[in-house]
């Protein structure tokens, strides 16, 4: 298991705890990573809004770098996953387009042959690290955690692009949560939009979406949410206060990054996972988990 790691911009900036926790669990779980330090932004849809062709060429440059290393690309962001996956598909499916992109890449001494796959860490954890393996590595009892997954739209739709989860009934995240010993929460909002892409355009609408999903998760028993997308994390965590204001409801739902949840289960401390960095306190999560050996000490009753 060796990957060219694409950390994404937000994952190394305002959500840098995502990058930290990814590297920690990768080391623990034997996922070897070579960071693509020289890669550009995936475009996140915004670059594509300005110049679609350019963002595809820039992504092709990233693919060419991974190909040179002989590695597939590992992402930790639903948005990176979609934008790179789509660019990759468009190049693989159209030899003429690939040739045109290669004429440009040749000017900077690169070439892309279309052999790279882009994989999100959620898929790698479930399919390659393996659920049984993960289950055996769990050191901390998460059974008190009712975890609402939040996929991020672009990790599950469109189904015809990704080909992993059924976009109507995604289950990778739930399988992972279950393997980590926590309880997955079933609710509709896990497949929906956090609202982040329009926060700067129509904050009211964005906050209505944001609040609705979190409130629904809580009503279904969630005491923590985990997301596979740092852009969702921005809306769910950083903007949770605004969502509370918009909905007139207290939400107070801690939001973890997927690798933080994994890290917690396999015994990495909340401090090392930098869980104090979140705006919504993660203390209730830490209080609900206990190390397995502690839990096993029989309690003497008087």
């Amino acid at each position: 298991m060796k990957y060219a790691y694409f950390p994404g911009c937000v994952g190394q900036d305002s959500c840098s705890e995502l990058d930290t926790s990814t590297k920690l669990i990768a080391e623990e779980l034997g996922i070897e990573i070579v960071e693509l330090e020289d890669a550009t932004c995936c475009g996140a849809g915004f670059m594509q809004d300005v110049d679609y062709d350019l963002s595809r060429v820039l992504n092709a440059r990233t693919f060419a770098m991974a190909e040179k290393l002989g590695l597939d690309i590992l992402t930790v962001c639903s948005t990176c996953q979609f934008n790179m996956d789509r660019a990759n598909r468009e190049l693989k499916d159209d030899p003429e387009r690939l040739a045109e992109v290669n004429r440009m890449l040749a000017e900077i001494g690169l070439r892309y042959n279309g052999t790279v796959e882009i994989k999100h860490i959620l898929w790698v954890l479930v399919n390659e690290v393996g659920l049984g393996n993960l289950r055996r590595r769990v050191k901390v009892d998460l059974s008190e955690l009712n975890v609402a997954s939040f996929y991020g739209c672009q990790l599950i739709r469109p189904g015809y692009l990704h080909g992993y989860d059924d976009p109507d009934r995604p289950e990778y995240f739930e399988k992972l949560i279950d393997a980590l010993g926590a309880r997955p929460v079933d609710y509709e909002g896990r497949k929906k939009c956090c609202g982040f892409p329009i926060t700067f355009v129509n904050e009211d609408a964005s906050m209505r979406m944001n609040a609705k999903n979190m409130i629904e998760a809580k009503e279904h028993g969630a005491n923590v949410m985990a997301t596979s997308c740092p852009l969702c994390h921005i809306n769910l965590d950083m903007y949770q206060g605004r969502a509370e204001k918009a909905s007139g409801r207290r939400i107070e739902l801690p939001i973890l990054h997927l690798p933080q949840l994994v890290g917690l289960a396999i015994g990495i401390s909340p401090e090392r996972l930098r869980m104090k960095r979140h705006l919504v306190s993660t203390k209730p999560v830490v209080e609900r988990v206990k190390r397995k050996e502690e839990a096993a000490i029989p309690v003497r009753t008087t």
Binding site: C41, G43, A44, E107, L110, C193, G195, V201, A205, R277
Partner: protein
């Protein structure tokens, strides 16, 4: 025999919707519409639903089946049942219900009319107008729309904002923006760039996912965004995208701080003060200056090559 649950609501009798259940044989090959017909013909003639062609052409039988909107005439019942262990049929989401599975399409049509969905060719051409194939291909992602409403039913932005034009209307809009013969494209882009238009799409991809005839409304919306930016049309969405783009071109990576700053402006940033204060407190402040990636010169070369290519007329 399987129990099929169907949403019922008759405004003349009911104050609240309820569900009725019928036991029906669900053999392989039977569509959800077949089951509804059986109920209507043999069990309960009061069950109302729309349908016409029964072959995925007319677009009248869109409804929600086990939570996903699609055409009941081309949705097989057995695979749904096998996957979920149940069958639930409901009217479309994001639209009012007239009776049972019949949605009020009025809000849908209003959005479609709002985009002026007809060719505005300016002067009448002197002879036949031959559209080059390459230009015609641009319409592929939009022109097959059968106006069934499935995309609007699943649209998450519309759910949060009923004034948003929605995917079907905007796909139709693009069909004219990208039509070589249309002379109103620029005015159209200005109109669609206003509030509740192209920039209100949250790119959730539900529309591309559920369209039964493989139209890609989200791609159409994104293509219009690109054209509107190219035409220099100012809007909050365009400002944000351009700010994002510029920071990436400068360092190779997104600069979150500079993007927010430029996109929102001073007043906008002030409105974010409550978030910003807590962000700083937690040490989550994004870097003010982004270190350039090593290959930034290569990135700039690619930008130039792309510009040169565009000048030669190789557009999307």
């Amino acid at each position: 025999m399987t129990a099929i649950k169907v949403y019922r609501f008759d405004p003349d009798v009911d104050t609240e919707p309820h569900y009725d259940e019928w036991d029906l044989p669900v053999e392989p090959g039977r569509t959800v519409l077949d089951l509804l017909h059986e109920i209507h013909y043999f069990r309960d003639p009061t069950l109302s639903f729309r349908r016409s062609c029964r072959s995925a052409i007319c677009g009248s039988c869109a409804m929600s089946m086990n939570g996903r909107t699609g055409l009941s005439c081309n949705t097989q019942a057995k695979p749904l049942l096998d996957r979920d262990g149940y069958l639930v049929v409901e009217p479309m989401k994001n639209l009012p219900v007239l009776k049972d599975l019949v949605s009020d399409m009025e809000p849908f049509w209003k959005a479609v009319y709002d985009v002026e969905p007809y060719l505005q060719p300016g002067k009448a051409p002197k002879g036949p107008y031959i559209v080059p194939k390459k230009r015609m291909d641009l319409l592929k992602i939009a022109q097959d729309c059968i106006m069934c409403g499935s995309c609007l039913s699943e649209c998450t932005s519309r759910e949060a904002n009923p004034d948003y034009l929605g995917p079907a209307a905007l796909a139709k809009a693009y069909r004219f923006v990208a039509d070589d013969r249309d002379e109103a494209s620029l005015d159209r882009l200005r109109q669609y760039s206003e509030a509740n238009g192209i920039w209100d799409c949250d790119t959730c991809l539900y529309c591309n996912e559920v369209c039964p005839v493989h139209v890609k409304p989200m791609d159409a919306i994104m293509a219009m965004r690109e054209r509107s930016i190219e035409a220099g049309i100012v809007s909050q969405g365009a400002k944000h995208a351009i700010a994002f783009y510029e920071t990436v071109l400068r360092s190779g990576k997104l600069n979150e701080f500079a993007t927010a700053n430029k996109s929102l402006g001073l007043a906008g940033m002030a409105s974010q003060a409550s978030v910003a204060a807590r962000v700083i407190l937690r040490g989550k402040t994004p870097e003010l200056r982004k270190k350039k990636i090593k290959g930034i010169a290569d990135v700039q070369t690619l930008v130039e090559l792309n510009e040169r290519r565009k000048r030669k007329g190789a557009g999307r």
